[in-house]
Symmetry: D2
Subunit: 315 residues, 4 copies
């Protein structure tokens, strides 16, 4: 029945111009993510985008028909447990190119909230910490078949304390102690015991890694690196001893947005030793400054090779 209906999309358009991307976004789908150790899989509501390119000779990408194919692929792919969400994107992108011979590239991306299980530092209380995970696959048609590049990344919230304001407070306090007749050595030794106040705030760290499809990029590692690269992690439940411990440790590790990005970069180099030099690393830190209404931002986009060279030179 469907074949007898008019196929407006396949007809040549009046204006013959290539299109870089045609597709759909904000597609919500349940995705079942298998977990290690026999644990029950987590089912996430994920947000997908799916694009192909379109040659100048075709009026439309037939989104409804293509989308149906995409949907079936997605359905089939998620009926078997997957261990890495980027495999799902790669699989859909690969099949899209096989199904649609007019397309030379296909892009499939997903973004999802994800809950991390963590324990508080002192009382060891279990809590669930929301994070965002994302993955993308871009398939290219080549003479020898289909080549796929993928992106895997995450965004995690933590706490940052400002080094600059803390230094200013230290100056102020030292001055007062001096006025009271205290000696420099005594002041220094006293301030070893007393963390200086500063403004602190929610920060959001983001790392995304782009590499060839074969390269393994464990999402867990990315998340752990971001968590470790702020002044402190945050926790949804904090009893007093935990709250005190977190506030103190955050004040012992003051960090600018710049510091967070550099620390993430260093840890990526240290922890992803197997990653090829031509992988692209994007690292971003955004601090929701508590003394301003605007946000502070730092970003590094670089090849893994460049990061390695810069770090090597700095050691």
């Amino acid at each position: 029945m469907s074949t007898e209906l008019p196929d407006v999309q396949a007809s040549p358009p009046d204006i013959k111009i290539n299109l870089t991307r045609v597709g759909v976004k904000n597609v919500k789908k349940l995705v079942e993510v298998a977990r290690a150790g026999g644990k029950r899989p987590v089912i996430l509501i994920s947000d997908f985008h799916i694009f192909v390119d379109l040659p100048s000779e075709m009026k439309g990408a037939n989104l409804s028909r293509n989308f149906e194919a995409m949907y079936e692929v997605l359905e089939e792919a998620i009926s078997m447990p997957i261990y890495e969400v980027e495999e799902l994107c790669s699989e859909v992108a690969r099949r899209l190119l096989l199904l649609h011979d007019y397309a030379t590239t296909a892009e499939v991306g997903m973004r999802s909230e994800y809950m991390l299980k963590r324990k508080t530092p002192v009382m060891k209380i279990s809590c669930q910490e929301p994070a965002v995970i994302f993955a993308e696959a871009k398939a290219y048609r080549t003479p020898s078949g289909v080549r796929i590049k993928k992106i895997v990344g995450a965004e995690v919230v933590g706490m940052t304390t400002c080094p600059c304001a803390q230094e200013l407070m230290k100056e102020r306090v030292s001055e007062r102690l001096r006025e009271r007749g205290m000696g420099e050595e005594e002041i220094e030794s006293l301030l070893q015991l007393i963390p200086m106040p500063t403004h602190n705030q929610r920060g959001r760290g983001m790392i995304s890694i782009e590499a060839e499809d074969e390269v393994k990029i464990p999402m867990d590692k990315i998340i752990r690196i971001i968590e470790a690269s702020m002044s402190s992690k945050t926790y949804e439940v904090l009893k007093r001893p935990d709250e005190a411990a977190i506030v103190e440790s955050a004040h012992e590790k003051p960090m600018f947005v710049e510091d967070c990005v550099r620390e993430m970069a260093k840890r990526v180099v240290e922890n992803f030793t197997e990653l090829p030099d031509d992988s692209t690393i994007t690292i971003v830190q955004i601090n929701e400054e508590s003394i301003h209404q605007h946000d502070a931002v730092a970003e590094r986009v670089a090849s893994m090779g460049d990061l390695r060279r810069e770090l090597g030179a700095s050691e």
Copy 2:
């Protein structure tokens, strides 16, 4: 020409049920707000909603026709400078009731970003601070004419520092000083000079006041009260001496969300002495906790009379 067209909306509907509100929202309009002292008026892009009620006998409120009327009213109203945005809402609501004899109530509301001109505390640098202002008017048809109740309110961002974590830090530091052999009196006197660190964050205070149309509710006063009722104001530009001053003064006035709401309530009672007892006051504080991913909230909804009684009893 328009009158010959079919009037679907005026026909009786199949299901005869009254409607509480029919109208439009997310209507963007330029509003010119006149300023005192001969300054050039500010033109704001505001977001309006406009509703009337609808009796069971009418199929539709004829949104397009009504909306056109609303639009004309708005156009005319904003062609003359207004000093209080709520006057604009009252005027539109009043005319809507006169134009549409089927309606017994009309609601008109607006919400807009607004820029406050402020100076930093030490260096007196001018800066622009964004805030949100809103107003609403509800007109009721009564035997003796139209009665209007209005709402005026604002939402402002500031900084809050946590009293609980600060007290915990004080205990920790005192304990360390004791271990070092320092006496209680000496510790106490030393900690007078040194502000203890704590987590701090962006907070958002909101006050809205509902009263009869005749009552004056200066928006400026509301904004000043919210700004004064957090641990510190925030500023878009801060040189070092300003940054140090703000961090220190915020740590000298630690506040829970509960404290912010209570301080706003107290200031409303002190500053709006002319407000009748039957005015309704809504006060909300939301802190974007830097040690959690969730927000802390406190709220009070009360008549002005109740606030006065509670404050009087507490003195």
Copy 3:
């Protein structure tokens, strides 16, 4: 250890004013929703708010301590499968009142995305349709114990076609046929076969029902009513025969926002026969008008008794 720490929150505040609500919002938690027929449970990431009231004599609600209690309750409650999400909210609200003797009310609410499994009308293709579900429980301390009122609701997207523009198009087309010499009867009979174009758009219907805790309010029924009360449902996958069927059927059932609200009201009365007269029903329809940038809105807030009376009178 925790008990030795200072308890800032329990101390009396400087400003002794009652607080209507103190608590947290934007708390993300995994919630496991059991499903009928032995199907694997769905795990949703839900957004919670949790409030208690606070007497004037207490400085703070001790959010971190309370929150920990809230968290444990939530943890325990969700470890057993639940069939109705509002049971979860009721359970948490009830326990909060038992745990915190200073509070006289406790409010717990959740909001979550949810995926509906649906089949397209012609080709019977399975697809997943996102919807929003929400529930709230408000517990009051009474002389005889704890009384709970709950809210259950959902928000679903569908398609609406405008009756007014369709009527205008019918007039235009009729006029053209008249000019061509066609008689009134022939025109009428011809236009029976040809659906007239009109503007159409995404609409969002919302129903929320508030009742005593004992009353059963099946979420499924609410969702089905909203879906049935627009010009057509929407589907994430549509092959051509389905797309044609949906466009045609939507044009055969043109609806204003007012019509959607009234149809939902009628279906609520018909389908919730067991609901007591004092339940409160809130019904909202929002159309993202394709010919405007603003949205059209209709709303009814009424007791179930009033809806029954109005519908009875209109028959």
Copy 4:
């Protein structure tokens, strides 16, 4: 006074890695845009981001100090009327490079709501249509001085009608007329008079043009092109004759997202004849499909030279 304070940012960091971007975002500022013909200037609340790069030897970009400089520049720049918002961005970016000798690039971007004055097609009623405008400048330090590339763009909402569903409806209606005994020619001639229904929706078109600083890129032209490249414009006020005219004309020009992008591309080539071949054009169309909950998207990113070649070849 400021110089005596510690300068944490200028010290060398522990981890010596370059940063691509360091700065602030979500900075709200009033911007006064002068208008031709002696009209009073419009004052917009705009959202800015301001970045510089940072060498590995510097710990921090000294956001507060830099930001202050940025702020002064912005303040000064907006005190004189500007005719093109991108000039403002270029000016700030240029000065940033002059002020900060460690930086090799500086990026300044702004985004703002803007109100277009339009008249409805039939009744010529004036109305205000919201749009989004944006501009960006990127300054590079070169041996011969500073080189600036800029981006100017806009995003405008309109209405799109689906060609595919319309063709399907035409088939359906033709079949019915055939069954009634009508001949093919008669059917064809009749359907010339009667626009077929289809699903339609809000669409959003976006064009951004990147070029050397000297090139003129009138924002007005961009906006006009987007408005003309959908099935119809939308209007905030529509009396019945206007509503009918718009619905009909939109149905006479059905367009896929692909068609909108191609039409925008064609108009850019025709209207920006003076634009150099190496300018980069990005064109996006997003349709909020009324039959789905997801959005359809088409995009073209190309050099002006490529667009010219493709269009030339297709004629």
